[in-house]
Amino acid sequence: MKAGVVQFPGSNCDRDVKTSLEKCGFKAEYIWHKETSIPKLDLIVLPGGFSYGDYLRCGSIAAHSKVMNEVKKFANNGGNVLGICNGFQILSEAGLVPGVLMTNKSLKFICKEVFLKAINTDEIFTKKYKEYNAIKLSIAHHDGNYFIDEDGLKALNDNNQIAFKYCSKDGEITADSNPNGSLENIAGVYNKNKNVLGLMPHPERHCDILTGGTSGKNIFEGLFN
């Protein structure tokens, strides 16, 4: 299983993602944002951090970078793409997943552990969460407030595209467990074909008991078997 981790100017979770992928059994390599071709891969990850200063809107400049033409081709041909945090913002700006990530309701950068409920557990990145009532992962973002218009939300629900929602430690989806004001507590969404996932929490930070747990590994391990 081969994975590529895209490096944008400002990415800072790239090394964590690569290390975690390798821990899960992938052969992983970096892809520079100026690349105009990519090798044969089973997975492309857009890591968290920042990109191009996040000028204009988070992820908007990166969404039009050279490598993204290749990522779009890869995704449109059915390739698996995972965007984490800034990677999710880039995917949404590139139109690869629906919706948009706005500034947190509190206007504050939030860095903490949260609980998530896997909503659609039939797809590649979420199928290993079937047994989980609440998944503990970390968030670290200033712009993670998910929004989509009414028609868009209906389409998400109709096509079963919602991957994760923020919940309490008991698995209850409540207003109190929504850290950033996201519409309907949404923390992660799939594209229509379910080969592209964008999520705000950082699974790569929960791939080792030394960093707080291993519940993030399930996302990457969904690609094996």
Partner: protein
């Protein structure tokens, strides 16, 4: 030709920055100020003399980059 582009949040989209500014205005002692909304102003030069072509170009630039039409509206003026 110069384009002056205004990008604003659509109605109904949460604007916590606008709210914070509104609060601050109220703290300054100004009464009766409401519906404060924050947007962006972007100016650019276009090497184009034909109004129609310039309009087409600016429209595309706005739709593809300057505004995220899921949450934002845009309008612009072309100044010769």
């Amino acid at each position: 030709m110069k384009a002056k582009v205004y990008v604003t949040l659509k109605n109904g989209v949460l604007d916590p920055q606008g709210k914070a500014i509104e609060q601050s205005i109220s703290n300054l002692g100004f009464d009766g100020i409401s519906n404060v909304k924050q947007g962006k102003f972007i100016e650019l030069d276009i090497n184009e003399t034909d109004q129609k072509k310039a309009t087409e170009k600016v429209n595309k630039i706005c739709e593809n980059l300057l505004a995220n039409t899921v949450i934002e509206n845009f309008k612009y003026e072309l100044v010769a």
